[in-house]
Symmetry: C2
Subunit: 312 residues, 2 copies
Amino acid sequence: MALTVVGSVAFDSIVTPFGERERVLGGSAVHFSLAASYFTQVRLVGVVGDDFGEAERAVLERRGIDIRDLEVVPGGETFFWRGHYDYDLNSAKTLETHLNVFADFEPKLSEPSRSSEALFLGNIQPELQQRVHEQCPSASFVALDSMNYWIDNSRDSLVAAIGLVDALLLNDAEVRELTGEPNLARAARRIREWGPRLVVVKQGEYGAALFSDGGFFSLPAYPLENVVDPTGAGDSFAGGFVGFLAAHAPDELTEELLRAAVVYGSTLASFNVEEFGTERVSRLTFPEIEKRFAEFRRMTHFEHAGLPRLVG
Amino acid sequence: MALTVVGSVAFDSIVTPFGERERVLGGSAVHFSLAASYFTQVRLVGVVGDDFGEAERAVLERRGIDIRDLEVVPGGETFFWRGHYDYDLNSAKTLETHLNVFADFEPKLSEPSRSSEALFLGNIQPELQQRVHEQCPSASFVALDSMNYWIDNSRDSLVAAIGLVDALLLNDAEVRELTGEPNLARAARRIREWGPRLVVVKQGEYGAALFSDGGFFSLPAYPLENVVDPTGAGDSFAGGFVGFLAAHAPDELTEELLRAAVVYGSTLASFNVEEFGTERVSRLTFPEIEKRFAEFRRMTHFEHAGLPRLVG
């Protein structure tokens, strides 16, 4: 199934303890699209200024991503973010945010984007997410991401948007804030009562958890010794997860497939952080992806080892 | 193999959002011993005052724990801790700590305790840990736990004590602080260079990770909807982990067995938090333990699901 994604397209200036980059290609829809492109046909809906050049376009087109709905605002500037990570690499310090053309983003979907069978509503204003959703009546699998800003400022419309999707992806702090429930299992249960049958909780360096009809599944993050730049890891996770599921018919979505999707999401996220920006994910190979999937299995697998003579 | 444990024995007064208890049996050596008692013969070395009564003694003896080396200081008072947990239950607020007889604790080991083949050096002063270790020449498997207080105040002797053991158990913040290394994989590698061939990182609600010759293994925590009292969870984890390993000969400690030990540790920790103090772990049954082990397997297991027709 083709997969339409709506979200931010950005230039990022990033400093980490391992180096820095000025104005590299970024944004949630970009990281998502690149990761998802390894599994299915991706159509990106976003907005840029005319500072967005051929080089950036080429990164997306080389992965076969359809960017016909990447609107260019003449005279406008692309969303710009400048951030800094300390040694713990867990949370970015934002130094500058210029929404630029993204401030007035009104997603416009062409007929192909509207007709995709899968839809990812990236982290934008919940009302916009709902309007995009309404324009995609053929979408049989819809996933949504959001962030604390919308929980704080548009909670009601966010909850309404969530109620209409199949899968919600959030990090653990956001899940707790959204539900007012510190216990993650209870928080996920409450969200599933609102509508989504899948709740995916991103836990950064701790991995990811899936709550579904099949129960609870949890996967640790890949234990990299060298995390270079965490920017976009959550979006790459979402791209791997949704991209893998979008490649299957909705009636094929067994618990086994859902769990494999979490592993593919984590695989893509683990590659994302190995280099700056989109550098690593834009040039992955299938054997690399499959090798890391196998490593995830090796590091989580255990058997029931028989108990010895027991006492007491 | 018999297992000697040295550590604190305490009375805890605990308030959580789910209730409160006054002066219940606690302390690291108590939680550890009860958990380990399901796997092997445990000998507890500790100190109490004469406020430690028959009821407390009975909880330990009913689980077959040898308490001949539980020293009673006449006229002394047992270590007392009063703590409070908020709704997130992740970190305790300490309201009162009275070390009492524990302040001058000088572990005295009887011949049986000295002759155990397995030894757990619970969270006490590193010099004491080393002295106990020296008194146990027959111990072929030695594990050590510590805390940030000793990292801050006795780092050199702690590192020396760690250098002599087979397994180190710490929580993730402690591993980072001890090594000055924010990346957990690198931090664990450094500690393994000091001596221990096993590094177990306790991650609270996120689970536990094992670094060994066999590579990296990670297990999520059991997703309980009702965590009542987290006090002693880390000690119960250690008791399940070390107790299970102590029940096997040292040359049987394959990677498969080490991983099963992490699962048994997590199993005991998950029961620990379901009720206050030692209430739950003191009355477990083997079928309950085996059932939860199986649930851990169900919630972490995944297969490689074939990729569909791929794009790009």
